[in-house]
């Protein structure tokens, strides 16, 4: 009994400490949201005080100033293009590489996954020049296409590891029914890849949506192609002392991610874990 009570007490203590740590941990995010609805004077007077007269003026100002709606759509467009290509090209490559094993396919597989090891900063200088030559810079579609190349190595790796768990008999029976390899992939194999497709989508959406350096190099020069994070970066730089606007722009940038996380926490966490363990 004494042992049991000690155990319960120990657990309550752990939870108490955890609660304090969690509150401190999330405080910076809370502070950002709070200051984004405070008028200028209140932010300057006391950054940590609760808003006395909350205002939406900051929000309307920032939304209009940075053209939030169109930036949001830019983000959506770039992310969708990126994801579609990564999933399509990686899944089919992984499928064929797993089914047609041989010397050629093992060389190709190595060539496809090795770039996971190349840090982006190693190639960014010359990438800018190369993309300029083939006109993939300064465009949302071009940026989306670049994400295909950057995303395929890891995605192929994840798809390839999962392919092993799908029995060959499944596509063989489709073949006997007269379906081509491509047809078999589309209608039989791809639907079976669903769990791992979710993993790839989760990882790549988080990455592309929040990416900074590649968009900075490729699409920063025009508001038509800018992403949310880029606009927030520039805007905050200009609003160095007008913290209420800066905080508001930052809040508006992260709110879509936080809302998505609240609704999809299970999928996001599972995807991130699966991606890291397989990756």
């Amino acid at each position: 009994m004494g042992m049991h009570r000690k155990k319960v007490l120990g657990k309550s203590l752990v939870i108490l400490v955890l609660t304090v740590v969690a509150l401190i941990y999330i405080y910076p995010v809370f502070l950002m949201f709070m200051n984004s609805i405070k008028p200028f004077g209140e932010v300057v007077a006391d950054a940590i005080a609760l808003p006395k007269e909350p205002t939406v003026e900051n929000i309307t100002y920032v939304v209009e100033k940075i053209n939030y709606g169109s930036l949001f759509l830019n983000n959506v467009e770039i992310t969708l293009i990126g994801i579609a290509g990564i999933v399509a090209f990686s899944s089919i490559a992984a499928y064929i590489l797993d089914r047609n094993r041989g010397r050629y396919s093992s060389v190709v597989y190595t060539l496809i996954i090795t770039p996971m090891l190349i840090p982006f900063q190693t190639i960014m200088i010359t990438l800018l020049k190369a993309m300029n030559v083939i006109h993939l810079d300064q465009s949302k579609v071009g940026l989306g296409i670049q994400y295909w190349g950057f995303g395929i190595p890891m995605a192929t790796f994840i798809f390839f590891n999962f392919m092993k768990t799908i029995p060959k008999e499944i596509d063989e029976s489709a073949h006997i029914d007269g379906a081509s390899t491509f047809r078999t992939f589309i209608s039989v194999i791809f639907p079976l890849l669903k769990p791992v497709t979710v993993t790839v989508i989760v990882l790549d959406v988080m990455w592309i949506w929040n990416d900074f350096l590649l968009p900075l190099l490729m699409v920063n020069s025009s508001p038509k192609t800018k992403t949310l994070v880029l606009a927030a970066y520039t805007f905050v730089g200009q609003m160095n002392t007008k913290w209420q606007y800066a905080m508001c722009a930052m809040s508006l940038t992260v709110i879509p991610s936080i809302i998505a996380f609240i609704f999809l926490q299970k999928y996001i966490v599972e995807g991130v874990v699966a991606g890291a363990i397989k990756g």
Partner: protein
């Protein structure tokens, strides 16, 4: 026999066809720029002139002669990475252990630690800049702890730790969920057996759970290592490498050399060296950990 070879040929043809888009796309954004970096590292080029001037290994000689900030930035990056890896893994493991206890709001708590990880690192840098410059003074008024009065971004020595703190804060949720997954994979019967054998809670953790976490350690240490070596966005938003050059990472150095100073040749040389350093460090770590890992 003939049919066999026909089938073989068809298979090869399909392999080529279905992997070609992937190969082309990867080559265009990674392999070709990588080879170009190799070439430009041997040249002097300002990005505007039509043709770069070939100068052999002069860029590398200059780097090792200490004429650029590169070696210093490498030192910073290694120091940053070391502290980042240690702090991230210890804290994540501790929090993961607490978060695997069964209690009502466990999921909400896990979510809280994960939120910074889903936010853009640039924004994270700005949030903390605000806290360091505007918030801490006010918190000090309520809670007079000496460290709140420090000049977190102004003092070169402290700025190093500020950058690590923010980096760890942003990434911790990721390592926490990986350790949680590892902890949950520890079989209950093994733990029970240890309890029956009279192991205390602490003994169980250090003698049973930790050795079984091998794969989680490998993953988390490797991921934190590569993330640490790549640090860029957070520093750009938080300190821009300052004060002075106190928080100048290698990635920042390469970026500035190329895009601010327009020394594309020199920048490429630094990029190549950076690549070699990252490869050597990550491969050595993998080898080292591969030999240590305990398989279940």
């Amino acid at each position: 026999m003939k049919q066999q070879s026909h089938r073989k040929r068809k298979q090869l043809w399909e392999t080529v066809l279905f992997t070609l888009p992937a190969l082309i796309l990867i080559s265009v954004v990674m392999y070709i720029p990588f080879l170009m970096s190799g070439y430009y590292s041997l040249t002097e080029w300002n990005g505007i002139a039509k043709n770069p001037t070939f100068i052999g290994f002069a860029n590398f000689a200059a780097i090792f002669g200490g004429s650029s900030n590169f070696l210093y930035s490498l030192g910073f990056t290694v120091k940053y990475t070391l502290l980042f890896v240690i702090a991230s893994n210890i804290l994540a493991l501790a929090l993961a252990t607490a978060l695997t206890k069964k209690f009502r709001l466990a999921n909400v708590y896990r979510g809280i630690f994960f939120i910074p990880y889903i936010m853009s690192m640039t924004i994270v840098g700005f949030i903390w800049k605000f806290i360091f410059t505007q918030g801490l003074d006010k918190i000090y008024d309520l809670l007079p702890i000496a460290c709140l009065k420090w000049s977190w971004l102004g003092d070169p020595k402290i700025a190093f730790y500020s950058v690590v703190l923010v980096g760890v804060w942003q990434g911790l949720g990721f390592y926490i969920v990986l350790y949680i997954a590892g902890l949950q994979a520890v079989p209950a019967d093994v733990l029970e057996a240890a309890t029956v054998d009279g192991a205390s809670g602490r003994q169980r953790f250090f003698k049973v759970v930790l050795p079984l976490l091998g794969p989680s350690f490998t993953t988390c240490i490797f991921m934190s290592l590569t993330n640490g070596l790549k640090v860029f966005d957070i520093i750009l938003a938080l300190t821009k490498g300052g004060p002075g050059t106190a928080t100048y990472s290698t990635t920042m150095q390469i970026y500035q050399e190329a895009f601010t100073n327009n020394n594309y040749g020199m920048g490429s040389a630094q990029a190549i060296l950076y690549f070699i350093v990252v490869m050597v460090i990550t491969q050595l770590t993998l080898k080292l950990m591969g030999s240590k890992e305990v398989e279940l």
